[in-house]
């Protein structure tokens, strides 16, 4: 599921409300039927929701591998954690190359990939990502979106905010356009991609 829209529309704020970093003044947030409005962030994670907020949130002085392992902090199955870590390094070669390096030494785009991998270490039932493709090369963007599609195929629910709106809509079952803090359009990814107004106003179609 994607949330798209102009800058300043409130997209990131919606995500922050979801994971307890913005105060909800009215309305409810429900996850698998449970009201999670106002839950603190660690409570959100314990319910199997992995988070990748916007911008860089790697621990810069810890190694890439340590950052990855922290993603599985609440898991008890240590052997499986190690297997997952190796699998992610295989899937994202840059993590393999630089696994011993401090995460802060990676470039912006590489840190972004590390954050996605860290989310996956939780074996989440839902991933919430704010701009997963931000600052990534086309090849890395393709890798990220491929990974998201694969995750969906294994039953993981994915909620992303994306300015790379066309790519996001192509893989979205459902999408919402926000503007000035309000719902503006909603529909399947495909219907929004084909909506002339949406294309012109939000997708850069001239």
């Amino acid at each position: 599921m994607s949330i798209i829209g102009p800058n300043g529309a409130g997209k990131s704020t919606v995500l922050r409300a979801l994971y307890g970093k913005a105060i909800v003044r009215s309305g409810r947030i429900r996850f698998q039927g449970e009201d999670i409005t106002g839950l603190r962030t660690h409570g959100i994670c314990r319910r199997g929701i992995a988070l990748a907020p916007q911008g860089r949130s790697v621990f810069p002085y810890m190694s890439v591998r340590e950052n990855l392992e922290l993603g599985a902090y609440i898991r008890r199955d240590r052997a499986a954690v190690r297997t997952d870590s190796m699998e992610l390094c295989r899937r994202f070669p840059v993590l393999n190359e630089k696994q011993g390096m401090p995460a802060g030494a990676l470039s912006g785009g590489e840190q972004q990939i590390l954050e996605l991998a860290r989310c996956l270490m939780l074996r989440p039932s839902m991933i919430v990502m704010d701009e997963p493709s931000l600052g990534l090369s086309p090849r890395a963007v393709a890798m990220v979106f491929e990974t998201l599609v694969e995750m969906r195929a294994t039953g993981v629910t994915i909620l992303i905010v994306e300015q790379n709106a066309k790519q996001a809509l192509r893989i979205s079952d459902r999408a919402y356009v926000l503007e000035l803090g309000r719902n503006r359009y909603e529909g399947t990814g495909e219907s929004l991609l084909n909506n002339v107004d949406v294309r012109k106003l939000y997708l850069g179609g001239r």
Binding site: N7, G8, G108, G135, P138, R139, M143, Q163
Partner: protein
């Protein structure tokens, strides 16, 4: 033509311990040209910018601005010579409103005076009709007019990106060479089209650009030439169309 390029890098090299982040990179930005700098993540693009701007000292090679070496200059010395730059992580003036951020740039004289303006905010209370008009027009163009009195730090990421782009355009005297570091990242695609128009107009008025970008629409639409880095080395350069079809670039960068 034979005009001196506004910027030239000659075999610029920058190392961090055992890693060569920039490896004998040479490129030219012609006067009034727009050059794209692309490459996989971690290929040395931002480090190249840092070397040009004097935030980092190159270990070898030379950097020339209008034929004159600037390699040994400090960062503020280089800023004073008419190069503007945006950053991947935006730097806006946090204690000031969106409008004030731009007005400061319009009233720029030298770095020292700018700092004085920042600390003595009351100076901006003086009516400066020109600076205000210019700032408001720019805010309209980048879609930030509604937020003019908002603290710049309260803007979203993409909005801060737009503000820092507008700040470059607001600067007086206008920089002759502008380095843009992923100006489109996090910016709504429809707005990116406006930024592209802006860059084009700016070039028509005699400015030159060196642009780091992953958004290929931007690169294809405005760059005269594209330079490709991979692991710190220059692996290809030429017209955007040719570079896009270069097998080495496809392998390293597009991954098709």
């Amino acid at each position: 033509m034979g005009e001196i390029p506004i910027l030239e890098l000659r075999e610029v090299t920058k190392r961090f311990g055992g890693i060569t982040a920039v490896d004998r990179v040479s490129l030219k930005v012609p006067a009034n040209g727009i050059i794209g700098l692309i490459g996989p993540n971690g290929s040395g693009k931002s480090v190249t910018f840092d070397c040009i701007m004097g935030l980092l000292q190159a270990d070898a090679g030379d950097i020339l601005l209008k034929g004159e070496s600037i390699r040994a200059l400090s960062a503020d010395g280089i800023g004073r010579r008419g190069i503007g730059r945006t950053f991947q992580v935006c730097r806006v003036l946090h204690g000031m409103t969106v409008l004030e951020n731009l007005m400061v740039m319009t009233q720029a004289r030298g770095l020292g005076e700018n700092l004085a303006l920042v600390f003595r905010r009351r100076l901006l209370g003086r009516s400066d009709a020109y600076a205000r008009r210019k700032a408001l027009a720019l805010l309209d163009d980048v879609g930030l007019r509604l937020w003019q009195d908002e603290l710049a730090s309260n803007l979203s990421y993409g909005q801060q990106k737009l503000l820092s782009f507008a700040a470059i355009l607001a600067a007086e005297p206008a920089p002759e060479l502008i380095l843009l570091d992923e100006i489109a990242a996090g910016v709504n695609p429809t707005m990116v089209n406006s930024l592209v128009d802006y860059i084009r107009n700016y070039r028509a008025r005699g400015r030159a650009f060196l642009i780091i970008e992953h958004d290929m629409k931007v690169i294809m639409n405005i760059c005269d030439e594209v330079v490709v880095l991979d692991h710190g080395r220059l692996i290809a350069h030429g017209a955007p169309r040719h570079v896009q079809e270069d097998p080495r670039v496809i392998e390293a960068y597009f991954g098709r």
